[in-house]
Each structure stands twice: as structure tokens, then as C-alpha cells.
């Protein structure tokens, strides 16, 4: 069990839980990004077989970057900003055990990126996903959306910034299941236990193989 000002984490029956806790919209910050990294490090020593990542409350999984912080970015600082986000996303992707995103509300902008780096996403009926970068003249999640989904769907989401509600997200394949809000953690836990029940080296090898499936031959 651990935590910092904007992140809480604990383990239960070989499942690790991480909650991004930065109300009201759980925007990304150095604090909660560090929390995610520390939690994953700590789980490694605890025999955790799968991780559930979610947001506190029922409004947002994660609303992405803090626009107030982003406003002050300059040509010099934007590199660090992108690198810090990237570092956390990559740790999730390269983590040996599967990470399940429990999408409890809004996942937009950088929050959608975070959700898409998870291996599987389950959502509550309150889940809402949006590649909203375009609305402020930016882009995010292009690479993940275009590789995970049929290109036409990726274009529609990215070029219009449209909101995809839970049932639609399920139909499109953005979410693997949708349940009532009060059942979300049970649902995510069920997926996590199923995954944790398989031999760890097999799971790690499968995750890695799928991550690299679209890489050029030489990089595998």
C-alpha cells in the first residue's frame, strides 16, 4: 500500500490497483505520473500478476494535460513536457504484466493516450472518450488510435474530436466491456484475476509480441 498527494495504490490477491486522484478531472501532473511509476515498481516485488489503473470519483478517468500548465510551455520546455508524459506511457507499455484501464468517466486528450497504452480497457456506463486535442489545435493519441483501430475510425475521432460514449466505445472496440459504475472495479478485477492466473512468462511474452507485432522485423 502506498501513495502520494495525487495517487493511491495497493495490492489485493496478486492484483495491483492504482488510482489517479487529482480532483475534479484527474489531470496529469508530475505527482501522479511519478505515483504511477512508483506503484508499478513496488508491485514488481509483490508478485502482482495484473494491474488495474483507474481515476478517483466518477467524473473522469483522466482528462489529460493541465491546460493551465500547458499554456506556459515554451519551445525549450515542450520537449521535457512530452518526454515526461512519454516516460510514464512507455513504462506501462513495457511493464511485464498486463495493465487494465478501468475507465470510470472522461478519458480525453492525454488521458485518452494513457487509456490506450493500457493493454485492455473496461468501462463504466459513464465512460466518455475523446481525442480532443484537435479542438485546441493540437494532436494526441494519433499513433495509438491509428494502430489499434481501423484507420477510418481513428480519422473520424481525431479529425472531429467527437465524444465517444461508453456503448459506442464498446461497439468500436475502444472498450472490452461496459458495466454499471458500481460494478466497474469488480469487472476490472475479474479481468485482472483471469490474466494473473496464467503463467507469468507466457503472459509477458504475449504482451511483448503484440506490442512489437507492427514493428519492422529487425526491431523484434
Amino acid at each position: 500500500m502506498g501513495g502520494n498527494a495525487q495517487t493511491r495504490w495497493w495490492t489485493d490477491a496478486r492484483v495491483g490497483y492504482i488510482v489517479i486522484d487529482n480532483p475534479p478531472m484527474n489531470v496529469l501532473s508530475d505527482e501522479n505520473r511519478r505515483g504511477i511509476r512508483e506503484a508499478l515498481d513496488e508491485f514488481r516485488g509483490n508478485g502482482v500478476g495484473a494491474v488495474v489503473l483507474t481515476g478517483a470519483g466518477d467524473r473522469a478517468f483522466c482528462a489529460g494535460a493541465d491546460l493551465g500548465e500547458e499554456k506556459h510551455l515554451t519551445d525549450e520546455t515542450v520537449g521535457t513536457f512530452l518526454a515526461r508524459g512519454e516516460q510514464t506511457f512507455r513504462i506501462i507499455r513495457d511493464y511485464e504484466v498486463p495493465v487494465i484501464g478501468a475507465i470510470n468517466g472522461w478519458a480525453m486528450g492525454g488521458g485518452l493516450v494513457l487509456a490506450l497504452w493500457c493493454d485492455v480497457r473496461v468501462g463504466s456506463t459513464r465512460a466518455r472518450l475523446g481525442a480532443v486535442g484537435v479542438k485546441v489545435g493540437l494532436m494526441a493519441s494519433n499513433v495509438q488510435l491509428s494502430r489499434l483501430f481501423p484507420e477510418g475510425r481513428a480519422r473520424d475521432m481525431l479529425l472531429t474530436g467527437r465524444t465517444v460514449e461508453a456503448e459506442d466505445a464498446y461497439r468500436l472496440g475502444l472498450l472490452s466491456s461496459v458495466v454499471a459504475p458500481e460494478r466497474l472495479m469488480d469487472e476490472a478485477t475479474a479481468w485482472a484475476r483471469d490474466m494473473a492466473g496464467a503463467p507469468a512468462p507466457t503472459v509477458a511474452a504475449a504482451k511483448r509480441a503484440i506490442n512489437l507485432a507492427l514493428e519492422p522485423e529487425a526491431a523484434r
Binding site: G137, N142, R147, E151, R155, T160, E215, A219
Partner: protein, 166 residues
């Protein structure tokens, strides 16, 4: 099938039978919207190889072969399920849906749209790290635009933003 353009983004509107050259032109658009009465078929396409490649990219190999080699006509609901179109509406709502989509695109910051289109294309053509690096290059450039700053200001002031393409 007709194509409408807004902010450089091409929307294909399919409200009847869509085969041959119509299908090729529809697949070439960025966003495809269909009436629930629309039907689709690869019959009569001029460049079968190009159409097959495009469909394989959009839907995966299995679906591409089913459509191009299997020569089936399929309905709008199937097209939506397969991912050929992303929105299906009743015939009577087609005009309104199209207008709303055109308005949405026209109201967005114009520099981001072609950049996103290029990054999506690159995402399939480049190795993931190179694709991500390209996305970040676009991000840095867009972050410095006047339109981005205008959008953030408007967001905090809870009003619609006005974009100039700078």
C-alpha cells in the same frame, strides 16, 4: 455518393448504392457517413489492387478479401460494423448530419487538421517510434501557433474561439 469538403477534410456521404468508381472515391475520403439505406459493393472498381490495399489497411486482410474477392453486396449496418463507414443515420437525417459534420470541421483550428491526417497516414507506414517522433514534431509546431493559444484562452473564458490559421 457525394463528397463534400470542409477545411480540407473530405467527407463522403453515401445515401444509395455505392459500387465501382463510387466506392473507390468514397474510400479515398477522410470520413465516411452513410444513410441506413446505403449498400456497398466492390463490383466494377477500376483498380482492384488499389481498392484491395485500401480496404486491407482500413479493415484488415480478412475483411478486404471478403469484400473484393467475395463480391458481396452489403448494407450500411454491416459497413458500420466492419469500419468502412463510421456513422450511419436514417435517410431523412443525412443532410442534417452532413451539415453538422461540415460545420464541426470548419470550426476547428485549421492547421491541426492536415497535420493529423498526415500523422495518421504515417502511423501505418512508419515504425512506432518514428511515427511517435513525427507526432511530437507536429505537436511542437502546433503548440506554437496563435490558434492554439486562442483556443486555450477561449476555453478558460468559456467562449467559442476564433481561428485565423496562424
Amino acid at each position: 455518393m457525394r463528397r463534400v469538403e470542409s477545411a480540407g477534410i473530405v467527407v463522403a456521404v453515401i445515401d444509395g448504392p455505392c459500387a465501382g468508381a463510387d466506392l473507390e472515391r468514397a474510400l479515398d475520403a477522410d470520413i465516411r457517413v452513410a444513410a441506413d439505406s446505403a449498400t456497398f459493393s466492390a463490383d466494377g472498381v477500376a483498380d482492384v489492387a488499389a481498392c484491395g490495399r485500401r480496404l486491407a489497411r482500413l479493415l484488415g486482410e480478412a475483411r478486404a478479401k471478403e469484400i473484393v474477392l467475395g463480391r458481396r453486396t452489403f448494407d450500411a449496418a454491416t459497413a458500420l460494423r466492419l469500419g468502412i463507414v463510421t456513422r450511419v443515420v436514417p435517410q431523412t437525417a443525412v443532410a442534417e448530419t452532413t451539415r453538422a459534420l461540415v460545420d464541426t470541421l470548419a470550426a476547428l483550428p485549421p492547421l491541426a487538421l492536415p497535420a493529423i491526417r498526415e500523422a495518421v497516414r504515417a502511423a501505418r507506414e512508419l515504425a512506432p517510434d518514428a511515427a511517435l517522433a513525427l507526432e511530437h514534431t507536429h505537436f511542437r509546431r502546433l503548440l506554437a501557433t496563435r490558434d492554439h493559444k486562442a483556443a486555450v484562452e477561449a476555453f478558460f473564458e468559456r467562449r467559442p474561439a476564433v481561428f485565423t490559421g496562424e
